[in-house]
Symmetry: C2
Subunit: 481 residues, 2 copies
C-alpha cells in the first residue's frame, strides 16, 4: 500500500474534514509511533491516526468511517503481544488511539468500584485506586504501558487471577461506541444486574472487532494491609502442583499468586545484568513464588509459615520474605527472567493452558517433545499455574540466522500446540488471538463455534470495518460468511 487509491483518499479527506482540528494525524512522521507494537515484532502503517478527546468524538469518527467504508482498528498501549492493534488490513486502516481518553472518572471505596476511561494507563488507574485505600488488582509486566481499554478488549490476565479473576470478572459496566457510531452506555457500578442479556460480555475479549470501548466500570478491593511472599524449591512440576492443591485448601483463598519457574528461568535471572544472587542455598529443579494477602485481623505470616512447615514433604528449601523489600527482590527474579529470557533478541512466546490436574504431565510431555525435535532450542518455562496457565517460550541458539530462527519458531510452536491438543488445552490462555494466533486458532476451532462467532460479528459490525481479520478471518479472505 504505497499510495492509497483515489476513493480511499477521498474518504480520508472527508473524514479529515469532519473531525475537529488536531484529532486526525496523517503526516508520515506522526504515524510512526502508532505503527509498531511494544515488542517490535508487529508493524503496520495506518492510513491515519484518530486521537479523539471525548466519547462524542469517537462516535463522530465511527459514524464517518462507517459511512465512508473506512476500516478502523482501536489502539491502546500496544502491549497485546498478538498483533491485533497495529494496522494490518490490506485495504488500509484508520487507527483509533484512545490515549487522550485517559481520565479516571470516579473512585468509590464504598461501592468498591471505579470508572476509568479506555486510554488510562493501567498503572495510573491502580494508583488512583490506592488513593482510596483500595486496589485495582489487574497486575502484569506491561502495566506501566498498557491501557484499560486494551485490558478489557483482551480480557487481560496476569499474576492475581487466582484471587481476583481475569479482567472480565472485574468489569461491572462498559461504555462502547459501536461500529456505526452509536454509543451504548452500559456504564454502571451495580454488582448484580440481571436485566436481560449482559451485553458487556460480548465486548470483553473481542479484541476490538465489535466496538470501541471508551470507558469501563471496574471492581476494586480493599487494599491488603499484609502481603507475604515466599520462594520455595521443589523437586518437580508435579510436586509444585501438589503444593498448589494443598495451598488452595489451607490458605483460605488468601493466595494472590502462585507462580511456577523452572531452574532455567532462575538462571536467566541470576545471569541477567541485574546480577541477582541465587535465591536458595542450592539449585532446585523447580521453584514456586507464592504470595498471600490479607487485612489486619489474620496472622498471615504464621499462616504461611505453618503451611510451608507442614508441607516439608514437598518443600525442599524456601525463604519467606521478612520485609516488603525482600519480597520485591523475590519478584524481581521473575521480572528479570521475563525481561532477559531472549538475551535481548527475539524468542517464541506461547501462552497455553490446560486443566490444573493435567499441567504437570503437559510440561513433561512438551519439554520432552521439544528436546527430541529441536535439541538446539532453549525452552523457558514459567507461568500462573494456579490458573493452569504456562508460558513455554523458546529461545533460539545464539548467532542463528534470522530465517532459521523464524523456521525454528514455527516448528517449535507446532510441537507445543500439538501437545496442547493432546492435553485438551488452549493455545491462548490470556493473550488472545489477534493476527499471530489466528491460523492456529482457526485450524482447531469447532465449526459451530466459528459460525456463532461469525454471526455475532455480522450482527454487531455488519460492514466488517472493525479490526477486520483479527480473531476471525477477514471477510472475503477465506473466512466465514
Amino acid at each position: 500500500m504505497n499510495a492509497p487509491p483515489t476513493l480511499q483518499a477521498k474518504a480520508l479527506a472527508a473524514l479529515a474534514a469532519a473531525m475537529p482540528e488536531g484529532t486526525l494525524l496523517t503526516a508520515d512522521r506522526e504515524l510512526e509511533r502508532y505503527s509498531i507494537d511494544w515488542t517490535g515484532d508487529h508493524y503496520g502503517r495506518p492510513l491515519a491516526v484518530a486521537r479523539p478527546r471525548s466519547v462524542e468524538e469517537v462516535s463522530l469518527l465511527m459514524r464517518h468511517c462507517s459511512t465512508e467504508g473506512l476500516h478502523v482498528v482501536p489502539q491502546g498501549g500496544l502491549t497485546g503481544l498478538v498483533g491485533a492493534a497495529v494496522a494490518s488490513h490490506p485495504a488500509g486502516e484508520v487507527v483509533v488511539s484512545l490515549e487522550r481518553l485517559n481520565k479516571v472518572r470516579s473512585v468509590n471505596p464504598i461501592d468498591f468500584a471505579m470508572i476509568v476511561e479506555a486510554g488510562c494507563i493501567l498503572e495510573d488507574a491502580k494508583k488512583q485506586a490506592e488513593t482510596a485505600d483500595c486496589i485495582l488488582p489487574i497486575t502484569f509486566g506491561a502495566q506501566g504501558s498498557c491501557r484499560i481499554g486494551g485490558n478489557v478488549a483482551t480480557n487481560a490476565g496476569g499474576f492475581n487471577v487466582l484471587r481476583y479473576g481475569m479482567t472480565r470478572d472485574l468489569v461491572l459496566g462498559l461504555e462502547v461506541v459501536l461500529a456505526d457510531g452509536r454509543v451504548w452506555n452500559g456504564l454502571k457500578t451495580l454488582r448484580k444486574d440481571n436485566r436481560g442479556y449482559d451485553l458487556k460480555q460480548i465486548f470483553i475479549g473481542s479484541e476490538g472487532t465489535l466496538g470501541v470501548i471508551t470507558a469501563a466500570a471496574l471492581k476494586i478491593f480493599p487494599k491488603p494491609t499484609q502481603v507475604e511472599t515466599a520462594l520455595v524449591g521443589v523437586a518437580s512440576v508435579e510436586k509444585a502442583m501438589e503444593l498448589y492443591a494443598r495451598a488452595r485448601r489451607e490458605c483460605s483463598d488468601l493466595l494472590t499468586a502462585f507462580e511456577l519457574i523452572l531452574r532455567g528461568g532462575i538462571e536467566i535471572a541470576i545471569n541477567s545484568p541485574g546480577r541477582l544472587s541465587d535465591p536458595l542455598s542450592q539449585p532446585y529443579p523447580v521453584y514456586v513464588l507464592i504470595e498471600a494477602s490479607a487485612g489486619g485481623r489474620v496472622d498471615l505470616r504464621s499462616l504461611l509459615d505453618g503451611f510451608l512447615a507442614d508441607a516439608d514433604d514437598i518443600v525442599l528449601d524456601g525463604v519467606v520474605a521478612s520485609s516488603r523489600a525482600q519480597g520485591d527482590r523475590l519478584w524481581l527474579l521473575r521480572e528479570m527472567m521475563v525481561e532477559w529470557q531472549g538475551r535481548g533478541g527475539r524468542y517464541l512466546r506461547t501462552d497455553v493452558s490446560v486443566p490444573i490436574s493435567g499441567l504437570s504431565a503437559f510440561v513433561t510431555d512438551a519439554l520432552a517433545a521439544l528436546k527430541q525435535a529441536h535439541p538446539e532450542a532453549l525452552p523457558v518455562t514459567y507461568g500462573h499455574v494456579g490458573d493452569g496457565n504456562i508460558h513455554l517460550n523458546v529461545v533460539p541458539p545464539e548467532h542463528m540466522n534470522p530465517e532459521d530462527v523464524e523456521a525454528l519458531f514455527h516448528a517449535t510452536e507446532k510441537v507445543i500446540f500439538d501437545v496442547i491438543d493432546r492435553h485438551g488445552g488452549s493455545i491462548s490462555a490470556e493473550h488472545g488471538i489477534g493476527k499471530v494466533k489466528q491460523q492456529a486458532f482457526l485450524e482447531r476451532a469447532d465449526p459451530v463455534a466459528l459460525d456463532l462467532a461469525g454471526r455475532i460479528k455480522d450482527a454487531l459490525d455488519p460492514l466488517h470495518i472493525m479490526s477486520e481479520g483479527r480473531i476471525l478471518a477477514a471477510r472475503g479472505v477465506g473466512g466465514h460468511g
Copy 2:
C-alpha cells in the same frame, strides 16, 4: 388455545413421530405439572412436553421444532419467579424439560471443577461436590428444586455472591443445543482461555431465549472447615452499610454472607408456625446476619469476635453462634421470614439493586414513598446488601379482595421502581426479566441496548422459536425487528 389449528396438529404429529418412544408427552393429565411454576403464580399449558434423555435427543428435538416451526421453551425446576419457563406464546409452545438430563458427569477436586447436566437439581450437585470435600457455592432457598440449567440460564444469585460471585462467575464451560438443533460443545474446565469470543457468556442469563443449555462445567471451591455465623442488631440501614464497609476491609474477603433484615422481617419469623424466639435481648430496627468461612489455618472465631467488638459504635447487640446448630437456627430466622412473609397468601416480590453506597438512601426513600402512597400495605425488606441487592416485598392487608390485591401490587411496584430509577438502580438484580418484569424492563431500556439484544436474538435464533416473548417482546407483538 383450546384446539390447536390443523397445521400445528400436523407439526406436533410429525414431531411425535420423529422422537423416540416416551420422550414426548401430549396427554392432558401428563402436561399439568409442567404447566405451573413453583409459586403457583404462573400458569401456561404447553402443546406437548419433551423429556429428552440425552444431548442427541435435545438436538433431534430442536432440529424438528425448527423445521416444523414449533415454538419451544426450556424448563428446569420452575423456581425462576419471573414466569419465563411455563408456556406462554399465543401460538403454543413445546416445553423442553431437562429433568432427565440430570447426571453429574465429573467432579475434580484438583481442577476445582465439576461438570453437571442441566437437569441436575442444584442440591444434588452440591452434595456431589461435597463428596470431593469441595463446595459448589450457589446457595438459595429453592436449591432443593431448581436445576443447574436454570441457574445458568438465569445467572442465579443467592447468599454467597459476595464471596463466590453470581452463577456466571462460576461457569467455566457450557454445552448448548442451538435453536436449529446443532450442538455447540463449549464444555471445558480450563480456568483461563482467551481463544476468541467467549461464547458461553451469551447463553448465561439469556433465560432460554438463545439456546438449550444441556450441561455446564462449574468452578468448585475447597470446603471451608470453619463457618462462623453472627446476628447483630443495629440502629438503621445506614449503620448496617457502615458495618459492611468495615467488614469488607477487616475480614479479608472471608465473608460469605451479609444479609440485611428489617425488624418487620424478624417479627414475621418469630410469629411463624416455627415459633422461633426473638434472637436478641430486645428488638432493634435493623438486623444483619453475617457469615464468614475459612480453612483451618485462620482463627476465624476470634477474627469475627474481634471485628464485632471493635465495631461496638455500630453494633448495639449481637450473638455469634457457638455451634453449627446455633448458626443454622440463626439462618432459620431468615428462611422462615421468606416463607411466611405472605402469611400463606400472595405478596409482591421485588428484586432490585443499587450501588452499595446508595442502598441506605434507597431503602429510606422507598419505604417513605410506599408509606405515603399505600399505608395499608406491609413492606418486608431484606436482601443481600453486600451486593447492593434488596428484596423489598409488599404484603397486602388481610382479607383484601383479589382484584384490589392485584391493583395494589401494580401500584406499589410502580412506586418502588420509580424510586429505583431515581437511584440509578436495577429493577432486576438476580431474578431476571422473563414475562413478569418485561414491561417495566422495556419501558426503561436504552434503545441502543434493545437494538443490540435484538441483533443477538436474530443472530442466534433467526426463526424466533426459543422462549419467544421472554425478556424481549415477541416478534410481531410490538417488539423489535
